[in-house]
């Protein structure tokens, strides 16, 4: 079954409940099976499947919002307006990375996943999420920055003082 793992890992980071994620994947493949006649041979099957998944995800989110089972985490105000670029720790554990990722607001998280993990182009992401390319660029930039900030927070909680821009500048001097 093509791209099953790719789809599931993205879905699992966008829906908190693992069962919801699995349901989403099942519905995605069912939808793909039903509308396979619409798939144009020679086009990107993986992008097509992601497009279907995000279309279904939109409905799932609406349903979950109605039943108040989803918690969206908004980026703390002013976080992205920090002048200094938060440094990334030298050693990043998977667990810390995933914790940091989960704390990034979902509208940024999904674009970071599509761009940095699934390596879709801006155009493909724009088509998948049905948003302009400019929005993809701005959300990706902000999402990456939020992720760095979350990682810096994690590092600080461990008592590690990650290298800051200031420190880096001092070293350079």
């Amino acid at each position: 079954m093509p791209h099953l793992t790719d789809l599931h890992r993205t879905a699992s980071f966008l829906l908190r409940d693992p069962h919801e994620a699995e349901d989403l994947i099942q519905e995605t493949y069912l939808e793909a099976w039903k509308s396979f006649h619409r798939f144009e041979l020679g086009t990107n099957c993986r992008a097509w499947l992601f497009k279907i998944m995000f279309h279904r995800l939109h409905h799932v989110r609406r349903r979950l919002l109605k039943t108040s089972r989803v918690i969206t985490i908004d980026a703390p105000e002013g976080q992205d307006e920090l002048a200094a670029e938060p440094a990334v720790p030298q050693e990043i554990r998977d667990e810390d990375m995933l914790n940091a990722l989960e704390k990034v607001a979902v509208e940024f998280r999904e674009i970071v996943l599509l761009a940095d993990v699934e390596e879709f182009s801006y155009k493909e992401i724009a088509e998948t999420l049905k948003i302009p390319v400019g929005t993809v660029m701005s959300r990706l930039s902000r999402g990456r920055k939020l992720l760095r900030q979350q990682l810096a927070e994690v590092a600080r909680s461990y008592g590690i003082n990650p290298r800051t821009k200031k420190a880096g500048a001092a070293e350079t001097a």
């Binding site: 699992s12 998977d94 990375m97 760095r148």
Partner: protein, 325 residues
């Protein structure tokens, strides 16, 4: 100071491009500019390296999260669950389409059959009318029979050698009826001749009439027949106050006409038909050589007359409607 300010602005501009550079979304010229700056700016290089480390760590962390082992099986199960419902849905559509097609075909067949039956009923009535007319004109109105039965020899003589053998059949096959008269005659204004046996029994007068078919036929099939006897279909009708049963035998139509009940007439015709049919098959001569198409013309005229009456009635209705309007 000016130099530092210039470098800082350039670094800011390059760092704004780093996200797109990292995603390989920059134009070649812009990418070259970024690369050129990175070669000379350690701070921006560190920033890029930091971003790349972050991306690599993210990819690794996400890739290391395992998917459930049952995921593939669950998806396949979901697809299989849908397939029967899908099949049923498609099948239902096909069944509906099939039923609709069959219904249309059946309706067409029914309509065609109904039309054929109506035409058959008209044809039967037009043929049986001949026997009723012969009975009424010759036997009832004309009273061409004696109160005491004519001797058989006299009747045979009137019938002629061709039809004389039929007398015995009528005598034997109509129990309770006495043959009063037998002759070959024609009604006024018609050149059609018919063999006419006038009998009496059960308190009434009954005619057995034989006339040549001249190409006309009663409807094929047994849908419109009232009874059957030795493979002969017997048709019955009530016309002008008389019950008549008729059947086709060789080149002849045979009629049994009286004012008895429908059941009695049919039963008498059933008893008479086999023997009469056998005897008629031995008679090959024609009664009226110049009347080959008489019956066909008669039937056509009857139908045409009824059609004209219908058309006239319709025209009247239209005129009335127009006047009302």
């Amino acid at each position: 100071m000016n130099n530092l300010s210039f470098d800082s602005k350039r670094c800011d501009r390059i760092r704004q491009q780093l996200d797109s550079y990292l995603s390989n979304e920059l134009l070649v010229e812009t990418a070259s500019e970024v690369v050129g700056h990175l070669e000379s700016c350690e701070s921006c290089s560190r920033d890029l390296e930091s971003r790349m480390r972050l991306r690599d760590a993210l990819q690794r962390a996400v890739a290391n999260r395992p998917s459930p082992d049952s995921l593939r099986a669950d998806v396949l199960r979901k697809l299989r669950e849908f397939q029967p419902r899908s099949f049923a849905r498609v099948s239902l559509k096909r069944w509906c389409l099939g039923f609709a097609s069959v219904a249309v075909v059946l309706a067409s067949l029914f309509a065609a059959q109904w039309f054929n039956l109506r035409r058959g009923e008209q044809l039967i009535a037009s043929i049986l009318k001949l026997g009723v007319a012969d009975h009424l004109i010759c036997a009832i109105k004309g009273h061409n029979y004696p109160e005491l039965a004519n001797p058989p020899d006299q009747i045979r003589e009137k019938l002629g050698p061709r039809y004389a053998p039929l007398l015995q059949v009528v005598q034997q096959r109509l129990p309770g009826f006495e043959v009063l008269e037998g002759h070959v005659c024609s009604i006024p204004g018609s050149d059609r001749k018919f063999v006419h046996f006038i009998t009496r029994g059960q308190g009434t007068v009954l005619s057995v009439i034989l006339t040549e078919r001249n190409g006309a036929s009663l409807p094929a099939g047994k849908f419109l027949a009232s009874a059957e006897s030795a493979g002969l279909s017997i048709y019955e009708d009530h016309l002008n106050g008389m019950e008549i049963a008729g059947f086709e035998s060789g080149q002849y139509f045979a009629f049994v006409v009286s004012d008895l009940s429908q059941h009695e007439i049919v039963e008498l015709a059933r008893g008479l038909a086999p023997a009469l049919n056998e005897k008629l098959h031995t008679i090959a001569l024609l009664l009226t050589p110049n009347a080959n198409d008489w019956l066909a013309k008669s039937v056509s005229l009857h139908i045409l007359r009824e059609t004209n009456q219908c058309n006239k009635k319709r025209r009247c209705e239209v005129q009335e409607r127009q006047q009302d309007g």
